[in-house]
């Protein structure tokens, strides 16, 4: 027994780890297949009944975009933005062509559903690649690395999977918490489109001029918040006393879902294009940017919005009011930005 352990211990360990990875890989496959099935069924309900969308959906699930090279980082943000826009436009056009009966909101929701399927397919393919590679080489280091990262990978995949129901039915998701805060201020005022998929409105709040920005709902949009905010700051030549950004923020283990925290800086996620634009313009005009985040887990971000997050939204609305009262005087202008995917949230 001792000799076997000495000679084959590492191999036995590798086999046990490969078995664990195999179980997780099957779970990932089920999640990917469910997303694919949901996408095909939803597209079929909006598309030509005589045509089977399966080959086109399979093609969409393999879709990729190549990030610009950062060998020369100068001007990389504009390049990333250009290719990201291209990716979004192409995906939307392809989904729109597959579902001709869908209206604009439904096309945007379908686009997000396709993104979920694409993400799950990518995760599955990458994990399968390293699993098979580890199995082929029996390299303990490759197998170790994959097994160590699996809990996080599974969590991420399950987060994507939990968002499918929301994108199919048009339900608000946790990421929309910031948008909901803005929507609560916007309701009943006149709105205008300020950038692609982004709306703005102006109202008076206790003697202050309040400009509110959010992505255009109730479709699954995130809008062009950076572009919209830059436009308003430039139009007002920086005569803005305060910018308040509200977004969903990642909670740490042990923290409560729906808890609210305040800070400084541009509260906006994504690849960084919007944050870059906001930081650039705010610095140029010397405008203070305050951030409020509503805490939620990775899974809550894409899943249908939980009741606790609604409580956080109410708290964030009160914090916005307090900040405006405390940090500005009557007659001054404030911008409130509600960041996040606005699926299931009107304005």
């Amino acid at each position: 027994m001792f000799a076997i352990t000495m000679l084959y211990g590492q191999r036995i360990q590798a086999i046990i780890m490969l078995r664990n990875i195999d179980v997780s890989l099957r779970r990932l496959k089920v999640l990917r297949d469910n997303a694919r099935r949901a996408l095909i069924e939803t597209i079929r309900s909006f598309g030509d009944s005589s045509r089977d969308p399966t080959p086109e959906v399979d093609r969409l699930l393999e879709y990729f975009w190549i990030q610009p090279t950062n060998l020369d980082p100068y001007g990389i943000v504009a390049k990333i933005e250009h290719f990201m826009n291209l990716h979004d436009e192409r995906l939307r056009a392809e989904v729109g062509a597959l579902a001709p009966k869908a209206d604009r909101t439904q096309v945007v929701n379908l686009e997000n559903l396709a993104e979920v399927g694409l993400a799950l397919n990518t995760i599955y393919r990458i994990v399968r690649h390293f699993y098979l590679f580890g199995k082929k080489t029996m390299s303990i280091f490759i197998i170790y690395q994959l097994e160590a990262q699996l809990p996080q990978i599974i969590q991420e995949a399950e987060a994507y999977a939990s968002g499918m129901q929301a994108f199919q039915l048009g339900q608000p998701i946790g990421d929309g918490a910031g948008s909901l805060v803005a929507a609560k201020f916007m309701y009943g005022t006149e709105k205008w489109v300020i950038a692609k998929d982004t709306v703005a409105s102006e109202l008076s709040f206790e003697g202050r001029r309040l400009i509110v920005l959010k992505a255009e709902g109730p479709g699954a949009n995130v809008g062009k918040i950076g572009e919209a905010l830059t436009k308003i700051l430039e139009e007002n030549m920086g005569r803005i006393s305060l910018v308040i950004m509200v977004d969903a923020g990642m909670k740490l283990e042990g923290e409560e879902t729906g808890g609210v925290s305040e800070g400084i800086g541009a509260a906006i996620g994504g690849i960084g294009v919007d944050r870059f634009k906001i930081e650039e313009t705010a610095t140029k005009f010397g405008v203070p940017v305050y951030a409020i985040i509503i805490k939620e887990s990775l899974q809550d971000v894409i899943a249908p919005m939980k009741k606790e997050i609604y409580a956080g939204v109410e708290e964030a609305v009160n914090r916005v009011r307090r900040l405006i009262r405390e940090r500005t005087r009557e007659g001054e202008s404030v911008i409130l930005v509600g960041v996040g995917n606005t699926i299931g949230i009107g304005q």
């Binding site: 195999d22 890989l25 099957r26 496959k29 089920v30 297949d33 399968r128 699993y131 098979l132 129901q165 039915l169 048009g170 339900q171 608000p172 909901l180 929507a183 309701y187 709902g217 109730p218 899943a303 249908p304 919005m305 939980k306 009741k307 997050i309 609604y310 299931g344 949230i345 009107g346 304005q347």
Partner: protein, 131 residues
């Protein structure tokens, strides 16, 4: 891993449980044999039985724990989504199941109290255990 996904069916699950239980009972039997050998003064045989019974116990407990964890994973919470509609006129509130087409700040059905159209003020998920 084959491209064809294999799932653990009910038959395989039952076989797995039966094998784990057989192993468990066999290990208990070996403990009994070990004790009998010890009473008879045959210490080497008693020790061998003890080692094998312990290994069997560890293995069968591991399999059964693994199954318990799989069951826990299977009982995932399925969220039910509710829509809250409010009448801004008289303050009447109603919570109903989410219907396709609902969205927050959408004008909804008429208020049963004052007949004014109500407003969807929130749509939220509450976790429910799968039956």
């Amino acid at each position: 891993m084959e491209e064809r996904g294999r799932t653990l069916g009910l038959g395989s699950l039952m076989t797995f449980i039966i094998l784990a239980l057989i192993l468990l009972f066999f290990s208990i039997f070996l403990i009994y044999r070990s004790m009998t050998a010890y009473v008879q003064g045959d210490l080497p045989v008693s020790f061998s039985y003890l080692i094998f019974s312990l290994m069997g116990l560890i293995l069968s407990s591991y399999f059964l724990m693994h199954l318990k964890n799989a069951r826990l994973r299977a009982a995932k919470k399925v969220p039910s989504v509710f829509t809250m509609v409010e009448c801004l006129q008289c303050g009447f509130k109603n919570i109903r199941s989410f219907q396709k087409g609902d969205y927050v700040l959408k004008r909804a059905e008429g208020c049963p109290k004052c007949s004014q159209s109500m407003l969807i003020t929130s749509i939220y998920a509450e976790a429910e255990q799968k039956p």
